[in-house]
């Protein structure tokens, strides 16, 4: 079923709600009229601010071309959602993930598989859970069968043990949360690529590298950053959705810690640009987060937001 929210309607609706719509390269962009924005091609990155993470997600995806651009009818979709923690600001909001399930259903996906099961009580934190129970029940949970993938272009990571479903899916959606991370300062779309990796040996190698006997938490941040950049070469996501609704700004990745509430959801096909945009929620510049430049060096995305068509909308 086609919901019928076109890019034009998204822009018009946000404008009618008193939103400001900004389109253009770089962080500043240029203010344009809603009509002009509607005539533009799909944005390279869309960031929607508003009180409702579900609505923000739908609008952000629409602004980068609509879900049908990424999820063909009858496709098998692997949703790499960061839900492996429990505390506020450490995992993707259930409203954002419900929106993703909703979009996949709208596109006519034949199968939706989540990378991991969600924590107990997770869905109940969304007021929409009851209305989406059929989609929740219909989503598969990966069995976590792994394949070993060689990464000839990897600098630090030459092979990875990854979820077989990541490799076999028709479509990969990277649904990440922007938050603090003790080992790499920031966690977002790039870091979320570790989600389909086996804890041992792959994630363990990311964390401690050549220092397995260390008693430091993350002894070699640059090694970890390089591994995160390298693992992007396994399977580039078809679409990244970054939840910055509630952001953990200390004690990451697990929390609990300090929280902020930017109430933003961003979407882009480019994981590097997604994080170059997302680091602002931690008060950082892209150049201060090594994995961003390292991933860009692999040619999988753009770290310079001035070269990205960024559309922002505020529906608050």
């Amino acid at each position: 079923m086609k919901r019928g929210i076109t890019r034009r309607r998204f822009v018009t609706t946000t404008a009618a709600a008193g939103a400001s719509v900004t389109l253009g390269g770089g962080l500043l962009g240029r203010l344009v009229t809603p009509a002009a924005a509607a005539e533009s091609p799909a944005a390279g990155l869309a960031a929607v601010t508003g009180p409702d993470g579900f609505a923000n997600t739908l609008a952000a995806v629409e602004a980068v071309g609509g879900i049908a651009r990424f999820v063909p009818e009858g496709s098998r979709v692997f949703v790499n959602a960061n839900t492996a923690f429990r505390h506020p600001g450490s995992i993707v909001s259930p409203d954002v993930l419900l929106a993703v399930l909703d979009l996949c259903a709208e596109a006519g996906a034949a199968e939706v598989c989540l990378v991991k099961k969600v924590p107990d009580g997770y869905w109940q934190r969304s007021a929409r859970a009851a209305d989406h129970q059929r989609l929740i029940d219909g989503a598969l949970i990966s069995e976590r069968e792994v394949e070993v993938v060689e990464i000839p272009g990897g600098v630090a990571l030459k092979e990875a043990h990854v979820d077989r479903r990541l490799l076999s899916a028709d479509v990969v959606l990277n649904v990440a949360i922007a938050k603090h991370h003790q080992g790499c300062d920031y966690s977002g779309a790039l870091k979320n690529a570790m989600g389909p990796c086996a804890h041992r040996p792959t994630c363990r190698f990311f964390h401690v590298g050549a220092n397995p006997g260390t008693d430091e938490w993350y002894p070699n941040p640059r090694h970890m950053a390089q591994c995160i950049a390298d693992v992007q070469l396994v399977r580039r996501p078809d679409l990244c959705i970054l939840d910055a609704g509630e952001v953990l700004t200390s004690n990451g990745p697990a929390g609990p810690g300090e929280l902020t509430a930017p109430k933003v959801v961003a979407a882009s096909t480019d994981p590097v640009a997604t994080d170059a945009y997302g680091v602002r929620f931690l008060g950082l510049e892209p150049a201060a987060v090594p994995m961003i430049g390292m991933a860009a060096a692999h040619g999988i995305g753009r770290a310079d937001l001035a070269s990205v068509d960024v559309l922002t909308a505020d529906v608050a």
Binding site: A84, V146, E147
Partner: protein
């Protein structure tokens, strides 16, 4: 990029599910035994999932041992493993108005390992609270150390009722753990 398949099941070194432990409780429990079971025994740790007035357990507490800790806190598990992690308990409480508080108890091999992890997690921020060996209260959560145990109670709100619940549960859990070193 080339792929190759190995013995898939053998590579899954991590058990697929955590150990699920039912907290069997009498309606009117007898005076609690302060001597915790030896380190590593799940029945010792599940006793920390106490109930207090106005807050009831929601679902069954889960115990995580070894690498299953990654299922609870993913990459956060490294810190615990590097300092003698033994097992962890996760439980959730609800009050009559739908507020929730999450309880996590981490059992370390000794008090020194627990103190190191506590210092990393809690630091010097927050308000000191006289519970256990050390405790700090933040706006919506509390970290506590008692002997070889580290306790974190997290509310999903920072209203007065949730904070009161966190403090009441912290007091009860600390009493149940009793140091345990």
């Amino acid at each position: 990029m080339r792929t190759r398949t190995r013995a898939l099941a053998a590579l899954l070194l991590i058990p697929a599910v955590a150990v699920l432990v039912q907290c069997g409780r009498d309606p009117e429990p007898e005076q609690p035994d302060r001597s915790m079971a030896p380190a590593g025994e799940p029945e010792g740790l599940t006793r920390a999932a106490v109930a207090v007035e106005g807050w009831e357990l929601d679902g069954e507490p889960l115990v995580f041992v070894g690498d299953t800790l990654f299922e609870l806190i993913n990459g956060g598990a490294e810190l615990y493993h590097q300092h003698g992690f033994v097992q962890a308990l996760s439980a959730q409480y609800v009050d009559g108005e739908g507020r929730t508080i999450a309880l996590e108890v981490f059992e370390m091999g000794d008090a020194e390992g627990a103190a190191t992890v506590f210092a990393e997690k809690a630091g010097e921020s927050g308000e000191p609270v006289e519970l256990g060996d050390e405790a700090r209260l933040e706006s919506y959560y509390l970290n506590l150390r008692s002997g070889r145990f580290i306790v974190t109670l997290t509310g999903y709100a920072s209203d007065e009722q949730t904070t009161a619940g966190i403090l009441a549960l912290a007091d009860a859990v600390a009493a149940e753990l009793g140091g345990g070193s």
